[in-house]
Symmetry: C2
Subunit: 335 residues, 2 copies
């Protein structure tokens, strides 16, 4: 492209827009399904149940240790399908880019998105770009919709959860939240921590054959505490978490202590929370612990009865603390 920065003309359906699409989007996202001249695209699907999900991405800064808005858009969508038991096949991509945005950065982010998509085995089938007048738009927002396929008859969901079930997490929580926080200059902190952002598909597929698997979710916005509250609200059962069992990395714990955050409410982008029948817990942990991203998998709690339908954390000191549903936003634009 001749231009170094995005102008309104890149969004008008004419020549500049065609150049932008051809030289950035088509180049980095090329695959046999992506027809940038078509209104709509045929997506051949393997046998199975068709599953969809959608997500918007507004993370700031756009690049952070361990990822960027492009990889996040791919992993967020692949992961929402994965925890529903599905394998992502296609993505659609919406881009909202502000007039004046640097073309070199857009190119870098789209290239990164394309790499993440290829690694996750998912093809970008359709896209759309809108250019927002300068002063609106905060740089770049993305939205992705994923189409996936899962084995028919798979019954995973909040409604499958039973009293006595065990709650597992595939790795330490809060890395993504803290990595993004440290990448923002406003906090005046520096650290080596990287976001955990990754495809969780290997982790979820490792559990799919397991008798007794009830429910999986990736603890993104609102973190582990929000997933636990979702379980309580949907089932009417209590949840107990054991503070000493929830894996949290030391730098995450330190930053949270300095800034007054609770790591249990911070976003992860590459972890899975699974609820399994008690007799399945050992097999699930064993499967995860043998995997690249599952070495620190841990049993962190259990589902209780109806008598106390709250999320209760048993603390290190033997006390109890109720984890309320999130009210204040600890950290906007985290994903």
């Amino acid at each position: 492209m001749e231009d170094s920065h995005i102008s309104l003309a890149h969004g008008n359906g004419g020549r500049f827009m065609r150049e932008l699409i051809g030289e950035i989007f088509a180049r980095h996202l090329a695959n046999p399904r992506l027809d940038v001249d078509a209104d709509a695209v045929h997506i051949p699907l393997p046998a199975g149940e068709v599953v969809v999900t959608t997500d918007g991405f507004t993370v700031q800064p756009l690049e952070f240790p361990g990822g960027d808005i492009g990889t996040l858009a791919v992993h967020g969508t692949v992961n929402d399908l994965a925890v529903a038991g599905a394998r992502a096949q296609y993505l659609t991509l919406n881009v909202f880019v502000e007039e004046g945005f640097e073309v070199a950065m857009l190119d870098r982010l789209v290239a990164s998105l394309g790499r993440a998509a290829r690694e996750a085995g998912v093809a970008v089938a359709a896209g759309d770009t809108k250019v927002l007048p300068r002063g609106e738009g905060g740089g770049l927002y993305l939205a992705t919709t994923g189409v996936g396929i899962r084995r028919p008859g798979l019954r995973l969901g909040l409604s499958s959860i039973r009293e006595g079930d065990r709650i597992l997490v595939s790795g330490p929580v809060g890395d993504h939240g803290v990595a993004v926080m440290l990448a923002r200059e406003q906090f005046g902190l520096r650290g080596e921590l990287r976001s955990d952002a990754a495809s969780v598909l290997p982790l979820t597929e490792a559990l799919l054959g397991l008798e007794g698997l009830r429910f999986m979710r990736d603890p993104t916005r609102g973190g582990l505490a929000t997933v636990a509250n979702d379980i309580v609200r949907a089932t009417g059962l209590g949840v107990t978490l054991e503070e000493e069992r929830v894996p949290v990395r030391d730098p995450v714990r330190s930053v949270c202590e300095i800034l007054g955050y609770d790591p249990l409410y911070l976003a992860c982008e590459g972890r899975v929370v699974a609820v399994v029948a008690p007799e399945a817990a050992e097999a699930a942990l064993g499967a995860w612990r043998g995997m690249a991203n599952g070495g620190e998998a841990a049993p962190i709690g259990s589902v209780g009865g109806r008598a106390r339908a709250r999320v209760v954390m048993r603390t290190w000191l033997g006390g109890e603390r109720v984890l309320e549903e999130l009210e204040d936003d600890p950290l906007p634009r985290i994903c």
Copy 2:
């Protein structure tokens, strides 16, 4: 909802977000497929080829005579599938809303979107909302992805177009562009004109059985002239349009004369451009003219040879004018 305006807490994954989703999105978009607690949703599909499309919407003002950003998001997506020969089955919806946005207006727009979806026979299967800090975000942006089904083996596309084919339009062009323009106070003009925004599915389905149907497109961003240029670029063939045959309403013509716009470059949101074999033109026009939105359907030009691969307009006075590909944006945030 207790709050009259959107706050950042409505985007944090916690209680406020749940209230927003429950009281606005779930209420207006309710259908058996919409499970607001799920990460991903199973969408049963009828037999046929699965087709996807995606679009972003940034129109200003958000409400205008004949439509709003909600109806536009539904019709834009339904129409992209319709011109590809497909019937929309499901939508996913991404909402980017700015902190401080009026809840009553969001409610009105989502209600309008829900009505348009029900009328078009399409279910909202999944959604996501992000709240943008005040000063970013320009109020409200939407992105929709549509999943549709079409008859297997249907071959419609730019590559099917042949020399001698006829070009038809289903009704007057430029109404949407001018209606949105007049709704912006900046122009100081007032008019009775309404946007043509509508589902074009009845118009496209009326032609699907027709032997000799080559290609259909809804002339949105960049208008009729941009569709004609797309044909030239994809086929290497020339296109000739007859100025006196292109239907343009008088108020559209007047506003364009005052402001110096060319109606052929203005967006329509409820029209279809069809390219058909010469022997199919009469049947196609006959089918359209018997329909509610097709009364003013007209044959507007034809596809020529390779010798002059341009879009040429034969003027009222017998002259010729080349319609170049759009460079400047005549009107940003039109859809």
